[in-house]
Subunit: 326 residues, 3 copies
């Protein structure tokens, strides 16, 4: 996923990358410039990639990258054109290198580019409340409104006919047309992503965005985290009630309805026309089919096929659940 | 329910109402003025009503309304004095017509009447923080305080000895005396109410309010939605902990105690002296009796009689629950 | 626990204390000055204590306090040097007397000492957003940032290299070094503590603080209440995801990971290296051991020993849970 929002601080000498991983760089090697970090398929010969699991062997064999972060036991799979960089934990090292290219995607301190909307060109274009702040690289369409004390931080594109409530914070987000985001939301912050490490965890960068498609509504007090390596997506005409938490990389299909206090853990994919009752939770990395209904309070810990109604914890077919519980 | 907060934009010619429903208005009819929309019982001969289910046949027979939104199969039940307006979906059409009379009850964009309290007469009366905003039609009693960045949007009546925290937003709400509303709350926004419609849902108006009776406390980060056709009510001396969600039309009795992260879905009625443990959920349209105790984390999906302790999901008698789970 | 944050309004004449409890003070007694209220062990002869349960009989026998709030049935256990003050409900009376000494620990109205950071000495020291407010008795270390509209209310000590997001409110809190507190949090407000009382509950004072140790992260929209008689503690390098609620007196060990929407009820103690999945809940007054893993959505209602994985509601050993649920 390529994201226009984060500045790529390349080029870096490969010797610098070795240094940032606390590895010794042999003077025998050429000290090439490296321009970006990408996955095994997309990296080209000016770029570095990473290879951490045998299941990617086929693509690893054919990578065009000049350098690859990997382990001693996987390095022989790489082509000769690709110099292996041997580390103990590939994902931690990849995170460190990604942070080097995209440091702005790690640090989510407040946006110090934000200024009062009255000092910007949006002043006459957007119907806005008191004390609205606008960061750099923001675009807002026609007929939009932004409520009091809301902060449109850097890297936000908002379409036409959108309404943002009060006390809401948005960054690194694309909002299409006719979207309503209510009060006290936080949209587009980095997800809950880090490598646990005794006494000091290591955060990994989030170079994805949040994409909210046409006609959506996001309820009060909701949080939607941006993606780490892919985007977080709320599909067209999907409505979220209050106090909902959508974790990084989640994708929700169109025409879905999600009631209050639901939480969806990282990287799960929810289909179209899905209905989720209040306080239900969906674990991470699951696939929920189209036209699925999940009862309020359920805990979903397995994939759910299309056209299924489930309930309970762990969520199962609703008839089965109700029969057992009689 | 009659609500003084929303402006009624009547009169409308009945031909305009036909037009808003995409129906053809026959020139043979008189083009009467219509002054309001009410239910079958309360509408008079200057008003329009709606009739969507056989179970209301008895009151439909006697309605005094001059017009009634209904279906082909129900129209014969109406008296001759009432002209049926035939639609496919009565509730959707009713929602559209209600929106015509009360457009301010559909649109919950930020309140652009709100100005800094320092520019109002409340300046000397209310102990207030920095950057407090006050909308139109607001009344605040004696000995009240309002925290920093809070927004008392339009249509709010606050009694005596009340305290509102910081970063809190209130609209369309009546707060009685000695009430504390803590930080980061959103009180009185429209509920999660709409008719699902492929590619573009249809929101329905919320012409109810939130009523918070004497001596209540509302914890940080809570959301209380206003009613759609009735009010949302928090009874006297009831305490809500942090991060609670109360949906539209919910009524909670007095002296109840509701712990953190509880959610109560739309239109449920909770009795007096009820205790609800943390993270419990109550489904919509239920009746929970007086002196009920609901264990933390429970999911209530059926009515609960008075004086009962329940737990589990679905919540059942607590002894039964604990025996089974041993 | 001694807390430097709350002003002690002593001395009080013992006759005043009797009066505040609606008790008759016999003119035969000396009308001593009382300087503080402490527990049975720590009180000295200028102080008042309280004794409400037989299980404290051993320490009661040896208390050095000159006065003790207690019941008729317990008073004979006290030493002769200690004058019993007989009440019906010891905890309610203790709460009233504590409130007399520490009235600022009961009332959590907005902090009216807070002023814009631009008017303080922090202006040049702290990287800060727009409209940041700072209360009295605040200290902020080197290399810190505070986001837009955030309010550092009175009694907050922040170490070095800390980042506070936007729209966040902190009071009565010690934050060590390298801590990130994200947007829309409320940290350090009084807990959900009161004595239920028909028609008007009685709040008790919270004289504890929140302590957030080095390297922690607190996610968006989280609430952490300060302690009532002890502190609420988030251990070193512990990460909290979004929308988490931590109640008063909770202690969480170091290197723990707590996913979104988790709630931990009052006075529970969580060990080190604990992982808690999204939406799980922990009841009050429990002890969760070290290296425990609690599955997402679980409801923990009993103590959990070290090195255990649990899941379900009530949470049980995870293998057992999954076998049963197959």
């Amino acid at each position: 996923m390529s994201n226009p929002f984060y500045k790529n601080y390349s080029p870096f000498k490969i010797s610098e990358i070795f240094k940032s991983l606390n590895l010794k760089f042999s003077e025998d090697n050429f000290d090439n410039d490296v321009l970006d970090i990408k996955d095994l398929v997309n990296a080209n010969d000016t770029e570095i990639t990473f290879f951490h699991s045998k299941k990617y062997s086929e693509v690893a064999k054919n990578t065009k990258a000049s350098f690859c972060i990997t382990t001693n036991s996987l390095k022989h799979i790489l082509p000769k054109s690709c110099v292996p960089i041997i580390v103990e934990n590939v994902l931690v090292a990849t995170s460190k290198v990604t942070s080097k290219f995209y440091p702005d995607a790690v640090n989510d301190d407040f946006d110090d580019t934000a200024i009062n909307i009255d000092e910007t060109n949006f002043k006459n274009k957007v119907r806005c409340g008191k004390n609205v702040l606008i960061g750099s690289n923001v675009s807002i369409g026609l007929n939009c409104s932004i409520g009091h004390n809301s902060i449109i931080e850097k890297n936000v594109l908002i379409g036409n006919n959108c309404s943002v409530g009060s006390n809401t914070i948005i960054r690194n987000t694309v909002v299409n047309n006719n979207v309503k985001i209510l009060d006290n939301c936080v949209i587009g912050k980095h997800g809950f992503g880090f490598f646990p490490n005794n006494s000091k965890n290591i955060r990994y960068p989030h170079i994805g965005i949040v994409l909210i498609e046409d006609n959506c509504e996001i309820g009060c007090g909701s949080t939607i985290d941006r993606g780490s390596m892919s985007n977080t997506v709320i599909g067209k005409n999907t409505y979220l009630d209050n106090q909902i938490h959508i974790a990084h990389n989640v994708k929700i299909g169109e025409n879905s309805i999600i009631a209050g206090q639901v939480g969806i853990a990282g990287s799960s994919v929810i289909g179209k026309n899905v209905k989720i009752g209040g306080q239900a939770g969906v674990s991470g990395h699951l696939k929920i089919g189209n036209n699925v209904e999940i009862g309020g309070g359920s805990g979903v810990i397995r994939d759910i096929p299309d056209n299924t109604k489930v309930m309970g914890y762990p969520a199962k077919n609703i008839r089965e659940f109700l029969k057992e519980k009689k």
